[in-house]
Symmetry: C2
Subunit: 410 residues, 2 copies
């Protein structure tokens, strides 16, 4: 029997209440990540094991202390973050001139912790720590509560729960409800605003509306022709919102053999391009199913390879962590998001140093009758499916209140 | 009598030999910048004067020493820079994680010098120091010899000479030579490669060629449809090459009144949006003509103003530096490059932290029958007109040698 897998987002964190409600409403069940046993972490030549997702216990005691100090420092920044206006946070200018890599190198001399922070950036943003503004990093982690919540696979962690049959079902169900109101395979080429309406053009048709909400990935919004032209600050922001790079991999084995060795298959190497990897075997399955990623620089550097060449890299990494049985998968599926012409990458757009303080105010500010949604514009769980839902609700409220104001007698 | 002004590039540095030769061949004369008298520099509340373009002498002695130490440090980096492959320079990774602002803040505690480095970034890149990778900064200054050459207005400096009648004449003359081979107002929409030729499509026509050289600003190349798709590393680079922001201003007075006060009109304030400003009065003119800039953040924040509002900001700044006569200009012309749909900004594209080390190899590497020129791909004077010429010559050599190889008997 086959299993449905998610080529895109796949997790639910318990504080992602909009997504949880949507799943409940549609009768889609969730199940916890399988963390029983040990994870396998290889950093700087040393492979170590730790219970569950507690990768920090693979560090030396000194590095554990250093990591805790760094996490406290980030928590202090998170607490002072002004989510609505990160650029107005007291430390904004100072933090926005640092990349996460530069900030981390200044805060800690430990190469292992610098490597770990880079892993976190790769996993969370699909970008290197050198590419991400520290101000944006803190904004992003704070919007999902804090860094610990973002990286954790249990409790309130963003990777705690998986969807039976995949989260993609929810998109399909919502599409069914929308029925013929949803028009697919019709990329928007232009948006024309006049005094009292908007015209949206695709290759074959034009649609008139009172207002429009745009949710596409920022690089795609940048390709739409607007008339009148968008304000420069918005255009400048869109030109500085690159998408991360990620190739997602699913690999199946006849049984979850790693469990027999006391491993939970959460694995990470700093000397191999593939990883992290997670056990995503659905409850009741006899097969063992893993999901993992080529992230950031590793995706950039393996994007030109064939699927077969990447599969070999995946298998090699898994053999090193889980044992020789990993050599014989029964199935391999991958989704190269860098090659997807309608996303340009994933999971979302990130901001490099100096962008948020200068152009941040253009993130959500409506431009006439154009409103902005999409997870990049979210205040809560930005970058996640939950953020996309929150942003959609906020944009809908904007439209409703603007139209209500207009319909009031003067 | 009117004067011809350059709304775009306008200077010649003596080591820019290709541009100098072109000017000579077309009988276009140059004249030195008028530096007689003092420049006026206002930093952190203190307005000070110095001879010529020696703005560093307006600093305290301590800050002059600190600046010299910083310049020596940058020179040491410039000397070790591998221009052909900046990502292979020994210190590449370390330098590419820093923005210029972060690097400067670590190297010097002096707020004045940090402000000065930001001015340099604004003037050279039309971007803030927080947005620019330090590795890219050193690559860029080294490609024009060194930082001193880039900022200087005399000797070998990049702002030493102006063109009688403007440098734009050279573009016009070259266009005349090309005659009907030059097709204008026909933006390229798609480039299709097959085994032995390329087809370039515009809205109204298609052109077949053996090879194509693309020179457009990177954000415009990113909007062209390529088939087959460009390699991911190239697409990822193009998505991370934003253009700087600049609004260029020309303002004329009935006479160069500042000279009567012993000023040369080179002026800079850190508490006003307009500046730097330069005396660009042609030899023999009775009027006094100044050119100046709203750069980087100042351009972003004044782009939504009307020309009249910007003119008021310009006049206010000039009154503060040059005296009350500045209140009565006889002419004002501006070019808002942020609003130019075919440049998206200027002077060129810059790279933020983490980009050059990861995606730099895609800068010049041909993709099949597509070759890359444009000043962003230059090794010598990248970002300048000279760089555009050098890149064009290099791309032409690539094409000729590739075709020569093909035509050899096997």
């Amino acid at each position: 029997m086959g299993h449905t897998i998610d080529l895109g987002g796949m997790w639910l964190g318990p504080t992602q209440t909009r997504l949880a409600t949507l799943a409940r409403e549609h009768g889609v069940e969730t199940y916890p990540m399988s963390l029983e046993g040990k994870c396998s972490i290889r950093l700087r030549g040393a492979q170590r094991f730790a219970q569950g997702d507690k990768f920090e216990f693979t560090l030396s005691y000194l590095d554990q202390v250093r990591l805790q100090l760094l996490v406290w420092k980030i928590q202090a920044l998170e607490k002072r973050m002004n989510l609505e206006a990160p650029w107005a946070t007291p430390f904004a200018e100072r933090l926005d001139r640092d990349s996460v890599a530069a900030w981390t190198a200044r805060e800690t001399g430990s190469p292992v912790i610098q490597t770990l922070m880079n892993f976190i950036c790769r996993s969370v943003f699909c970008a290197e720590a050198s590419e991400i503004s520290m101000l944006f990093f803190v904004f992003y982690t704070r919007s999902g509560k804090n860094l610990e919540t973002l990286v954790s696979m249990q409790g309130e962690g963003a990777q705690s729960l998986l969807f039976e049959g995949g989260v993609h079902q929810l998109a399909v169900r919502l599409a069914e409800e929308l029925d013929s109101a949803l028009i697919l395979s019709s990329p928007v080429r232009s948006v024309h605003q006049s005094e009292d309406h908007v015209v949206v053009e695709t290759d074959g048709a034009a649609y008139q509306a009172k207002r429009v909400i745009l949710t596409a990935p920022p690089p795609h919004i940048a390709r739409i022709q607007f008339s009148p032209e968008l304000p420069y600050m918005k255009r400048a922001l869109l030109a500085r919102q690159p998408m991360g790079a990620c190739i997602k991999v699913w690999i199946a084995y006849s049984r979850p053999f790693w469990r027999e060795r006391g491993l939970n298959a959460f694995a990470l190497s700093d000397d191999q391009p593939f990883g992290p990897v997670f056990d995503a075997t659905p409850p009741g399955a006899s097969a063992g199913i893993l999901a993992g990623f080529f992230d950031a620089r590793e995706a950039v550097q393996t994007a030109h390879l064939s699927a077969g060449e990447r599969r070999a890299l995946v298998v090699e990494m898994l053999v090193g962590h889980l044992g020789p049985e990993a050599r014989s998968p029964i199935d391999y599926v991958e989704k190269d998001w860098t090659a997807d012409p309608w996303s340009d990458g994933c999971y979302g757009a990130y901001l490099g140093p100096g962008v948020l303080t200068q152009k941040g105010p253009a993130l959500r500010t409506p431009v006439g009758r154009i409103h902005w949604a999409g997870t990049e514009t979210a205040l809560v769980w930005t970058g996640y499916i939950e953020g996309a839902l929150e942003a959609g609700e906020r944009a809908a409220r904007e439209v409703l209140s603007a139209e209500a104001r207009l319909s009031q007698p003067v």
